[in-house]
């Protein structure tokens, strides 16, 4: 079975804490994802995402605080704007826009974290290996 490789960026305050909660609650999820902790989802530069695809990531997940809950007031909105735009751009590289996903996962949502990761992993598994067109 194809095992996708997924790179994730988790904001320190919400999603990374939510992932920790999934751990302390001994929930389980697919191991295909590897997370990088950032201070805020707004730190994720579209270049980091493209870098991941270029280096063979089959999917990229970004986790931030729910709207209105951002530790830095508006960082998650910045992330949303960038991801929306980038989704359009990666289509031009023949990358399915569903390979990039932004989710709001709070520090209290351990269960939701596992659901998002498992669901995203399966979706990427269906999409298969990353392939892109060099423009």
């Amino acid at each position: 079975m194809f095992e996708p490789r997924i790179v994730a960026f988790f904001c320190k305050w919400c999603t990374s804490a939510g992932a920790d909660l999934a751990g302390t609650s001994r929930m389980t999820y697919k191991p295909n994802i590897t997370g990088i902790r950032v201070m805020c989802s707004s730190r994720v530069d579209p270049e980091h995402i493209l870098d991941a695809f270029k280096n063979g990531a089959d999917g990229v997940l970004i986790g931030g605080c729910h709207p209105g809950d951002c530790h830095y007031q508006s960082g998650n909105y910045q992330a949303l704007k960038r991801v929306k735009l980038l989704k359009k751009m990666i289509k031009d590289l023949n990358i399915n826009e569903n390979r990039l996903r932004l989710e709001w996962i709070s520090a209290a949502e351990g269960k939701r974290f596992t659901e998002v990761v498992d669901e995203f992993t399966e979706e990427i598994r269906k999409l298969g290996h990353i392939q892109y067109t060099v423009l």
Binding site: T28, T34, I36, S42, R43, N55, Q73
Partner: protein, 650 residues
């Protein structure tokens, strides 16, 4: 290349049971940059930390990666430990292989591979981590308190009593606020003025408090520990340095206008103090109503003043001060009865709000404490109180509970009964919320001893019929319609933040919620801080609350201010986003995304400059920068790129 030490923790069996640690160590020992790797049963224990410290010295390590539990648990532990052997704490990184690996995966091969990916990516980060020093910020040990009600007075006194200077700014000519208008306070029925005025006098006379009444904040710049504020004092037309407060001018002034302090029930003069116990007890001339300002003739006050204190040429004045902390305690206004036309608000003179009824009950009020209704001065024999007017009504008015109305309405009914023994008070209510020390007992007493009739239900209509005010409602407990021909109706109007809160919030760069109240930094754990460092919130400006809660919160703001003032320097997280002036084109994209106004264009140089103290290290600007000039320290683009590659390498 830096020499990295990797320390893998078993966490007993928490990590070791799902991660094959011997294989992990074997596979990582030749990873570029890893100069030393060792595992241990409990890395956070004393022997574990000692091992880390010894190896840093013996192996001459430049940075370490501790592969263990979540950094929220022990990042600080290990950063403290490495400092004892002269390693910069920012060269210590945590790889989370417990919460985000061993605890969530069952298959040993998969978990081991994932742990390797996590550790490799953190090694890549550590390879490029720089030594960082916390940004040191000096503190101006002087506080600004905005609002001279009980919250502001309490906060100012607590700070001043600890030996620090305070500027207490109040918009009215006297401090005292809403509490000075109240008759008696629940649940003890202490006279409000009796407990408040000594505190007002203390604040007025305190050697560390500079009282600035009739004043408002005009401008502010700076940041925590280092604010620069500009305060405007409106023109008083009375020289307070000369004035002794003798009151002759007030006595002789021929112009009478409705008194705001008495909610329009009584009169004041055009030269006036809002109430006799005012602090400072010195008058101001209300130029909108003064005969001289309107017609050019009169100046009676000037003629009678024995001290030559009247000055019709006085203009507004400004002072500029530096302060380290700001407390916002600007209080509340009552939602005007005009908004309740279905209850006759604004049309029927004997439909009034609760604050007006406080003045009617007050011994220093316009009727000397005798309960007389506004229209004809008759003593009301039947009186209806309606609660939750404008509150808890998301469709038409405000969704929130104004919190104080249940108790003050109960108090109103009780005090009325104490004054008018043959009178009958009725209270229409949605719920009775008597949560507070002694509140439930107070509510019980109103029903049992003072025979207040509580009717659970809403009022549909209020109308005038001859000299009666007819209240039609429903008692949902008995299921019957109720019609009361009352002499007076008191509406427990919603309370809302005082006028001008939006402008003030904008000036201070603090946020307000959907109902206009100031937003605290965290609803549970940081209830007295605003989201801007160094600005604290007290009283009803933050949310509706009663006097004990207000005083508690105000005292807490003082504790926060003193905590700030106890430090010589503030230490600020140094992982901020700097600017590489060689690369920066001054486009300003980073300025637009910064939530903290930490970035500004230097027009001379044509580049952006960052205020390291204001920067909170979110990194939004670094992602926005098109040229790579904005790089977040120890979270650089290169570090992320290397981390991503490490995760994806076969």
């Amino acid at each position: 290349m830096k020499k990295i030490g990797v320390f893998v923790c078993h966490c007993g069996i928490n990590i070791a049971s799902t991660v094959d640690i011997p294989k992990l160590v074997e596979d990582l020992k030749n990873y570029p940059g890893v100069a030393y790797i060792q595992d241990y049963k409990y890395m956070c224990s004393d022997p574990g930390q000692t091992l880390v410290k010894e190896k840093i010295k013996s192996e001459k390590l430049d940075a370490i990666v501790v592969a263990a539990c979540s950094p929220t648990l022990h990042e600080n532990t290990f950063r403290m430990a490495v400092q004892t052997v002269d390693m910069n704490p920012y060269n210590c990184e945590i790889a989370n292989i417990r919460e985000q690996c061993s605890w969530v995966h069952k298959n040993i091969t998969e978990a081991t591979e994932k742990a390797k990916r996590i550790i490799k990516s953190v090694v890549e980060k550590a390879l490029l981590d720089e030594d960082l020093e916390p940004v040191k910020v000096p503190v101006t040990r002087k506080a600004l308190v905005l609002g001279g009600g009980i919250a502001g007075i309490q906060s100012a006194l607590s700070i001043a009593n600890s030996g620090y200077d305070v500027i207490l700014v109040e918009r009215q000519s006297s401090i005292g606020g809403r509490m000075a208008q109240l008759s008696e306070t629940f649940p003890t029925l202490d006279c409000s003025q009796c407990i408040l005025t000594p505190k007002m006098v203390d604040a007025g006379q305190h050697e560390n408090i500079r009282l600035m009444t009739y004043s408002e904040l005009e401008d502010i710049s700076g940041f925590v520990g280092n604010f620069k504020v500009k305060i405007k004092q409106k023109a008083k037309y009375v020289n307070w340095d000369k004035c002794t407060g003798c009151g002759l001018c007030i006595e002789k002034c021929p112009k009478k206008v409705p008194s705001e302090f008495d909610q329009g029930l009584g009169k004041r003069k055009a030269v006036y103090t809002p109430f006799p116990q005012a602090v400072p007890n010195k008058p101001v001339i209300d130029c909108e109503n003064c005969t001289y300002f309107k017609t050019g003739k009169c100046r009676l006050c000037e003629k009678v003043c024995p001290f030559d204190a009247i000055d019709f040429n006085e203009t507004e004045s400004f002072i500029e001060e530096e302060v380290g902390a700001i407390v916002v305690a600007t209080g509340y206004d009552v939602y005007p009865v005009l908004n309740m036309s279905e209850y006759g608000g604004g049309k029927i003179p004997d439909v009034i709000d609760g604050l007006t009824f406080e003045r009617i009950l007050s011994a220093s009020g316009p009727s000397g404490g005798e309960v007389r209704r506004p229209s004809d001065g008759k003593i009301p024999k039947e009186i209806v109180f309606i609660k939750c007017v404008g509150s808890r009504d998301p469709e038409n008015h405000y969704p929130y509970c104004s919190k104080i109305c249940c108790m003050y309405t109960t108090k109103h009914a009780m005090l009325y009964k104490h004054r008018v023994h043959d009178g009958q008070p009725y209270i229409f209510y949605m719920d009775v919320r008597a949560g507070g020390k002694g509140y439930e007992e107070f509510y019980q007493r109103a029903q049992e001893e003072d025979k207040v009739v509580f009717l659970r239900g809403k009022v549909s209509k209020v109308y005038q019929d001859d000299d009666k005010v007819v209240v039609c409602g429903i008692d949902t407990l008995s299921g019957s319609n109720v019609e009361i021909r009352a002499d007076l109706v008191v509406l427990a109007m919603a309370i809302r933040p005082s006028k001008g809160i939006e402008e003030l919030a904008q000036l201070l760069k603090i946020s307000i919620d959907q109902n206009g109240f100031l937003t605290e930094a965290h609803p549970k754990l940081r209830p007295v801080e605003s989201l801007s460092a160094g600005i604290y919130l007290a009283g009803c400006a933050q949310a509706p609350k009663d006097i004990p809660d207000t005083v508690a919160q105000a005292t807490a703001t003082a504790a926060m201010v003193l905590n700030l003032f106890s430090r010589e320097y503030l230490l600020h997280e140094p992982i901020i986003t700097g600017v590489d002036e060689e690369l920066c084109s001054g486009c300003g994209l980073c300025i637009a995304v910064c939530p903290y106004d930490a970035r500004k264009t230097n027009r001379e140089k044509g580049v952006v400059e960052v205020n390291e103290i204001l920067c909170e290290a979110c990194g939004a600007c670094a992602a926005a920068c098109p040229s790579g000039a904005a790089q977040q320290r120890n979270f650089t683009d290169t570090q992320f790129s290397n981390m991503v590659k490490a995760i994806l390498a076969e």
